[in-house]
Subunit: 238 residues, 2 copies
DNA sequence: CGGACTGTTGAGACCCCTCAACCTAAGTGG
DNA sequence: CCACTTAGGTTGAGGGGTCTCAACAGTCCG
């Protein structure tokens, strides 16, 4: 089955870095390849964790639903990233729901297989640990931002981060590579779609961004960076 | 050196669960035991990660400092828990500063040794992965709380969580096992010490808690739980 | 063409932060 | 043992950043 997976794709999967050819072959042999379609869920919040995923292509949104019905986006997953690792070994439940937003393909392993593979190829476990550590660090940073920073700065950071993850430079500016609504941005930054809308409109008036339906185009990345970072330039424009 | 570590202590260390006696001996042989004193730092934020710790006894507070000088508490670490795992394999920097708040002892390994041990005993890596996964899930929950919930509820949750971690039931109520200031609670919940003080005083008037210097005693855990959870009882007291 | 979804904008309220003053308890040194 | 210092805590007044609610506009789609 691994003849269908180009080396070029595999080499960009951080989880597999440093594995020997033999180990890689064993891991891939144990995997299933599955197509995923928009709207589909890879897993549901609070369901028992039964599978571990690596996204080959496409895009997935992982979100938590609060008891009151509010959504909070945990993260956006792009090609080459892993999913469902939190519940991996501990045999617990998924902390959120993984909804496919762009079609693509995933590699899937079940729980016992994953554990078995990691025991036979410790490199795999170490890679997973390192990647998960990066996720943990990111969540810590998000907590710090939520606790200490104003909404405008959080939105600026979120837009820049998304552009960094999946940005494409076109003639009119830096586009985010997938549709993203005001509601999505609100759920990422922990605010409301109203406040996001006001913030973005304000930036558009100052020429920092261009707006569209489910679209944000960054025109002046430097100025956005200034809002996101400490540099309170506040050059009394207008 | 492991003759100085009682089996009773070792059995409570989640990281070592499921290791064979031989593996455990090898891991412990590679470790250094170090006493730690209040005020001391196990590691500093943004310093290159060089060591991995397991806390045997004592208590450690891990906090992030924002560029503006505000502190955010990442977590409190108690006996048997591991520290510094985020930077472990990835060879990156520590995401926060680990300050000792109660004297005790730690086990220490350096980076290469840790990696070596995990390769030889995959169970160790899997345990670390599971524990770190739990931490990640907790951070996700905290983010959700910060993004969607009122301060009073966040403080209630924090107090209950701390009591769960290190609570001791005495005659006058459930004590948190270590001194904790209003400032600490503010840094945990992402608010200010003023708001924490007002919230706690309000609870004290209603008989839910008793307050002291760097001390909070839970008198009515059920009522606190009601504030922390959805159950807006709001039984117009007074 | 009508409905559903996404986005914008205004008005009002309120939660919470900020600043300031003051209080109490715990150390400290003469 | 007492003045002094310091750290932790409380409380009040005021202002402002965001949320909430509501109405409306633009866009996509059957």
């Amino acid at each position: 089955m691994n003849d269908r997976l180009s080396n070029e794709v595999l080499s960009r999967i951080a989880l597999f870095r440093g594995l020997s050819d033999a180990e890689l072959a064993e891991v891939l042999d144990a995997a299933q390849v599955r197509p995923i379609a928009p709207g589909e869920s890879l897993f549901e919040q609070d369901a028992d964790a039964t599978a571990f995923f690596v996204l080959l292509t496409g895009r997935v949104k992982v979100a938590q639903l609060t008891p009151e019905g509010q959504q909070v986006v945990v993260r956006f997953v792009g090609p080459g990233e892993m999913l469902g690792c939190v519940a991996l070994v501990s045999g617990s439940t998924y902390p959120g729901t993984a909804e496919v937003s762009q079609a693509g393909r995933v590699l899937v392993w079940d729980g016992p297989t994953t554990e078995q593979l990691m025991k036979r190829a410790p490199r795999l476990a170490l890679n997973a640990l390192a990647i998960q550590g990066r996720h943990l660090r990111e969540m810590q940073n998000r907590c710090r931002e939520l606790a200490t920073e104003r909404v405008e700065r959080r939105v600026a950071r979120a837009v820049l981060r998304l552009a960094g993850q999946a940005g494409r430079q076109l003639a009119d500016g830096l586009h985010i590579g997938f549709p993203i609504s005001r509601q999505d941005l609100a759920e990422i930054t922990g605010t409301t779609l109203y406040t996001v809308s006001r913030t973005l409109t304000g930036w558009e008036r100052r020429g920092l961004v261009a707006l569209g339906r489910e679209e944000v185009v960054i025109c002046d990345a430097v100025a956005l960076q200034a809002i996101a970072e400490d540099l309170e330039v506040t050059l009394a424009a207008t």
